[in-house]
Amino acid sequence: MEDKVEKFEEEGRRKFLRLFGGAIGGGGVAIAANALLPAAAAVEAPAKAAVPPIPNYDWSKHHWAFGVDATKCIGCLRCVEACKVENNVSKDPHHFRTWVERYVTLEGEEKARVDSQHDPVNIAAAGGEGKYRFANRYKDAKVDKAFFVPKLCNHCTHPACVQVCPTGATYKTADGAVVIDHTYCIGCQYCVQACPYGARFFNEEKGVTDKCTWCYHRITKGLNPACVEVCPVSARVFGDRNDKQSPISIFLRDNRVTVLKPETGNAPNVFYVGIDKEVS
């Protein structure tokens, strides 16, 4: 009898251990296996998720893309300001959904000098944090070449940020935008690390990561992103690639475009015209 009880106890212990170990191990292995898939294969699924309840909008009918004509940009930074206001982004010079870089090559120099509105010299020229302008810092120098490059989230086809998000809080929508569910983000900032473009930042007030959404709340109502809306020289172009007559379709058709850091395999959807080899 005792033997039987003992055997039963042993059996029970064994079963319990096997089940528990198996369940947890199995879950881990499944994720590990999937994590080893290339990003390309990995990010297809979320787009088929439940369609968000946006009135009069079908995300399967659009394919958004963004164009930047750097030859037109005058570095006025109205886009930066508009974005901060429209998306309620902290006004300090450390959190940007979009920013503008300035590349200046001086005579006799091989490498461009690069700065943006967060540079202390530019902050001083603007008259403090929360105001944005480029200082006239090269006025006494002989400038060989100079241009501005607007930057924003590239809403990549194979976004590294989406790949690494442990909860799926950040995902790629069916219409091409990469967005973040702030009610589900745990704030680990793995995505901030994974983005090669520095497009993501941590929203300390909300405890979640944040970035450009191409003004998703506007584009789903048929409006342009705020930065595109305010650009006085049409350096920023936005539209639906499914519509062959949209500004972005025309932009992509009429220009030889490039993307930033193509070697990362992220396949950006912000297309550039008129940037130099040093821009990355």
Partner: protein, 392 residues
């Protein structure tokens, strides 16, 4: 507003959003603690699995040390999250392409494995206490027996099989968990400083040497505190283990560094500037010269000349302490270093660690001390000493 974040000073051009360093000192502590877990487990496996009798005095102690470190491992991550209350989301609804989503499962699996193994190891003690003690403590021990009071020879041999099996599973488990930590960094293509296939083995070997060092220090200190003689054979064995694995660890790091330099991909000028400038103290001086070369040379000398007695103990203790600091510096130089080199390849940032706030030096120090406090308590209830009588 200012207290919400700390802006890092920079030189050259860095992306505006990079000026707030995402992963702080707490993410330095996380791989350090995980490494101690894997290292301590390795030490115990050398006895439990590979049957190296000279490590018997530290085998059970190593198991308990591993568990105490593992219980603290999730804390630095938890304290770092913007929404700690959502910490279980990656386990409840894991995003299967994320390396991070593995962590919850891997950690939970490993904690359970360690709890089980410790339970089997300390079962005779638990049963004995449950039968002898009364009151609250007796009740606790009685609960811990999980209803199994059988300590017959047959039951013990059955338990022994489990201990062996769990230790065997634990080897890939512990090393997998730590190799995975290396993968979290190594797999990110956004940072040249991290992006390396050698990252997992580098993390693994440095983990082993840190765990062995921790055990050397704790074993010697515990013997002194308990006023029992130090088992010289055991210390010598640990010194050999430390020495051997250190050679591997150093070689791997050297190969990785050489590849990074030799490949010389875009942004290498900035990496060189970083290596020659900000890394002179934390990497070249502290991590490499003081905390790696000195212990390797000292251990080589002691092994070569056959140092014995107190000189051996002092030398090994000194080396182990240096290695513990060195591996912590290695974690710092990887985690913080990677973020100090801008993704633009055109600038450098400086992480300025705050001393007193949620993610600060103070929190890091508390988290580093926490496993030791846990261990101090644990050894009172579950004496891991080979000379168990001396503990009471």
């Amino acid at each position: 507003m200012d207290t919400l974040f700390h802006a890092a000073p920079f030189t050259g051009y860095v992306y505006p959003n990079e000026t707030v360093i995402p992963w702080t000192v707490l993410i330095v502590i996380y791989p350090y603690l995980t490494g101690l877990v894997a290292g301590a487990f390795t030490m115990s496996s050398l006895y439990q699995v590979f049957g190296m009798q000279r490590f018997k005095p530290v085998a059970h102690f190593a198991m308990l040390t591993s568990l105490c470190c593992m219980l603290i491992v999730p804390l630095p991550l938890l304290l770092h999250l913007g929404h700690p209350e959502r910490a279980l989301n990656p386990m409840i609804t894991p995003h299967t392409t994320s390396a991070f989503a593995v962590f919850g499962y891997a950690a939970a699996f490993y904690v359970i494995l360690l709890l089980l193994e410790n339970w089997f190891v300390f079962r005779p003690h638990i049963v004995k206490q449950a039968q002898q003690r009364t009151g609250l403590l007796g009740l606790v021990y009685r609960v811990l027996t999980l209803g199994s009071y059988d300590v017959s020879e047959k039951a013990m041999s059955y338990d022994k099989k489990w201990i062996f099996a769990l230790a065997v599973i634990g080897i890939p488990g512990a090393h997998g968990l730590h190799g995975y930590v290396g993968f979290v960094f190594g797999s990110l293509k956004s940072r040249e400083w991290w992006s390396s296939d050698l990252m997992p083995p580098i993390f693994l070997f440095s983990a082993i040497i840190s765990g062995v060092s921790l055990l050397i220090v704790l074993y010697i200190v515990s013997c002194k505190l308990r006023k029992v003689p130090i088992d010289l054979e055991c210390v010598k064995g640990m010194a050999y283990t430390l020495w051997g694995f250190m050679l591997f660890a150093l070689m791997l790091e050297a190969v990785e560094f050489a590849s990074l330099m030799y490949r010389g991909r875009e942004g290498i000028e900035m990496i060189l500037e970083y290596v020659r400038g900000p890394l002179v103290i934390p990497f070249w001086t502290v991590q490499l010269a003081i905390c790696s070369l000195i212990p390797v040379l000292l251990l080589s000398f002691m092994i070569g000349t056959g140092t014995k007695g107190n000189a051996l103990i002092a030398g090994v203790l000194f080396s182990a302490l240096l290695v513990l600091v060195g591996v912590l510096m290695m974690r710092w130089n990887v985690v913080i270093g990677g973020q100090e080199i801008s993704k633009t390849g055109k600038g450098l940032l400086t992480y300025q660690m705050p001393w007193v706030e949620q993610e600060s030096g103070l929190t890091a120090a508390i988290l580093l001390m926490a496993p030791l406090v846990l261990l101090t308590v644990a050894v009172r209830f579950f004496p891991p000493w080979d000379d168990a009588k001396a503990a009471h």
